[in-house]
């Protein structure tokens, strides 16, 4: 007791800021996963003008694929990730072809309901195939942490890997969208599909590629997510899916930097709320912030202003 009183104040502050910093970095790590998932929602929304609520369940499938590759077949981590990407990409394109493409001319509500249907279908299929009992995912980088400042602060390696992966994906994707012919075709489709067709752009193929990229990213997100929260079960994708969708709206749906900013903010707010306010209330706080942001800026933080021509 006497010692505590004698302890100089600055050390306490530094100690406190170290803890804060750890929470912040963990939050950025979580946010990075949300950002990667949010990209899938955002790109598909931007180009196909639909909310693909089955996106979260593609993550779940990716997690199972990676789990079996790692634990059953003892494949190296890289091979497991590549396999998950291949399976999810194929699945994403297949879902689009079979479930959404026939509804291209239908109302957006029909497409939305179909997406929810696909989501339940995937969850139930997973439950039938692999049972509902959780499987333990072994992290692709182990459970080690980087210790800094004489042990005052530790950052899990998976957090570092997640953050780096997210940044690399953002850079590559931004370059891809901005200056490749497929990226330009995507932006053209997002603006005016009929005019795009008349310029010789195959809109269906462009939408397929968008789903392929979004689903491939979902596979990467699944491995990172399960390396942090190591259990794999059929409804695993629901909550991250909803959160990432929120992040996409938060940042401005349809915008790639928006998904990035939205994802990071969501992860940080969630983690800091858990640490300093209440674990139970953290989700409520996240959504409360979302509502406030949307009240002030209805198109999201980096959302496009809708110009109405008179």
């Amino acid at each position: 007791m006497a010692e505590a009183v004698k302890q100089p104040l600055p050390v306490l502050v530094i100690g406190g800021s170290m803890v804060f910093l750890s929470y912040l970095i963990t939050g950025i790590g979580l946010g990075s996963v949300y950002a990667i998932i949010a990209l899938g929602y955002s790109m598909v929304y931007g180009i196909a003008k639909m909310l693909n609520f089955a996106h979260g369940d593609v993550i779940m499938i990716g997690a199972y694929v990676a789990f079996f590759a790692l634990s059953r077949y003892n494949l190296p981590a890289v091979a497991a990730v590549l396999l998950a990407i291949a399976v999810c990409t194929t699945l994403g394109v297949l879902i689009e072809r079979l479930a959404y493409k026939p509804l291209r001319q239908a109302t957006s509500l029909s497409v939305l309901i179909t997406a929810i249907g696909v989501s339940y279908f995937l969850q139930n299929m997973a439950q039938l195939l692999w049972s509902s009992s959780p499987k333990i995912f072994s992290s692709i980088v182990g459970n080690r942490s980087l210790t800094l400042f004489d042990g005052k602060m530790s950052i899990a390696y998976i957090n570092i890997l997640t953050i780096i992966t997210c940044i690399v994906i953002m850079i590559v994707l931004t370059l891809f969208i901005n200056n490749t012919k497929i990226g330009r075709a995507m932006r053209a489709c997002s603006e005016d599909k009929d005019a795009a067709k008349l310029m010789g752009i195959n809109v269906n193929k462009t939408i397929s590629i968008t789903f392929a990229i979004g689903s491939g990213l979902a596979a990467i997100a699944s491995v990172l997510l399960c390396s942090t929260y190591p259990s794999v079960y059929p409804t695993l994708g629901s909550m991250p899916g909803i959160k990432a969708f929120t992040a996409a709206v938060f940042g401005g749906i349809g915008s790639i930097p928006g998904a990035f900013v939205g994802g990071l903010l969501l992860g940080i707010i969630e983690n800091l709320s858990k640490a300093y306010i209440s674990t139970q209330l953290s989700d409520a706080i996240v959504f409360a912030v979302l509502i406030i942001v949307l009240l002030i800026k209805p198109t999201g933080i980096l959302g496009k202003k809708v110009n109405e021509k008179v």
């Binding site: 200056n179 490749t180 012919k181 990226g183 010789g200």
Partner: protein, 256 residues
């Protein structure tokens, strides 16, 4: 004289429900020709363009492009076969830059695949560089090169019309369809556009079919004119013949 025409349309017709919008429409556009399609409002001119580009499926008749039947093709395939168009109400990709609008027109002439685009290999870099240069060349014909990084929507009206033509030309067509290219332009802009259209016809060696209400423009630029009224061909011939055709005058001014 026996050369295959660029466009040969025979007995083209379309019904919307019970309404026959276009019926027995015929037109021939030869190589290097500028042909006008005129008619009163609601005559079906844009509907004809929409059928030629397969936005609408014709109910009857045949469309031949350079001797090849294109009735069964999709909109994208029609563009690849060689028809490009502009729109009556400008439809640029508004939020994209001027040069991106043109590069989108070049989509099918750029050959690298998605994966090469992700890893940005040499083939990607070479082809992008080449396309970029071509786009700049095209833009400079229309005096748009200084505006190439601006969003298309920020351009003045006349420049947007020119950009639409530029984007259509980027798809490398053998037939260019212009839907009221001079609409909303002032007389000096219209005069300049007439010269530009003649220039691009010579420069790219293409045939042009255009819809226009400005009679000075049509009479000054078209070598042949087809008049459409109530969805059918009312008359066709050289500008002088059309100007003096009593039926055409009646259709435009109303029967006395």
């Amino acid at each position: 004289m026996n050369e295959t025409p660029v466009l040969q349309v025979k007995d083209l017709g379309i019904d919307f429900g019970g309404l026959t919008a276009v019926n027995k429409f015929n037109i021939t556009v030869r190589k290097h020709q500028i042909v006008g399609l005129i008619g009163p409002n609601g005559a079906g001119k844009t509907t004809v363009f929409n059928m030629l580009t397969k936005v609408y499926d014709p109910s009857r008749g045949t469309i031949e492009l350079n001797g090849q039947q294109i009735n069964k093709l999709s909109t994208v395939e029609v563009n690849k076969a060689g028809i490009a168009r502009t729109f009556q109400n400008i439809r640029l990709f508004d939020n994209l830059s001027v040069i991106d609008n043109v590069l989108i027109g070049m989509h099918n002439s750029i050959k690298y695949n998605t994966f090469e685009g992700i890893i940005r290999n040499r083939r990607f870099r070479e082809q992008e560089k080449e396309a970029y240069q071509k786009a700049i060349d095209l833009l400079s014909i229309f005096k748009l090169q200084d505006l190439m990084d601006h969003p298309a929507s920020s351009l003045p009206y006349g420049a947007q019309r020119r950009l639409e033509i530029c984007r259509a030309l980027a798809t490398n067509p053998s037939l260019l369809l212009l839907d009221e290219p001079a609409a909303g332009m002032n007389p000096s802009e219209t005069a300049e556009l007439m010269n530009t259209i003649k220039d691009i016809r010579d420069h790219f060696d293409i045939a042009i079919l255009l819809i226009e209400h400005d009679m000075k423009f049509v009479m000054g630029i078209c070598e042949e004119i087809t008049v459409l009224n109530y969805g059918t061909t009312l008359a066709f011939g050289a500008p002088e013949e059309i100007q003096n055709n009593p039926e055409v005058i009646k259709a435009y001014l109303g029967g006395a």
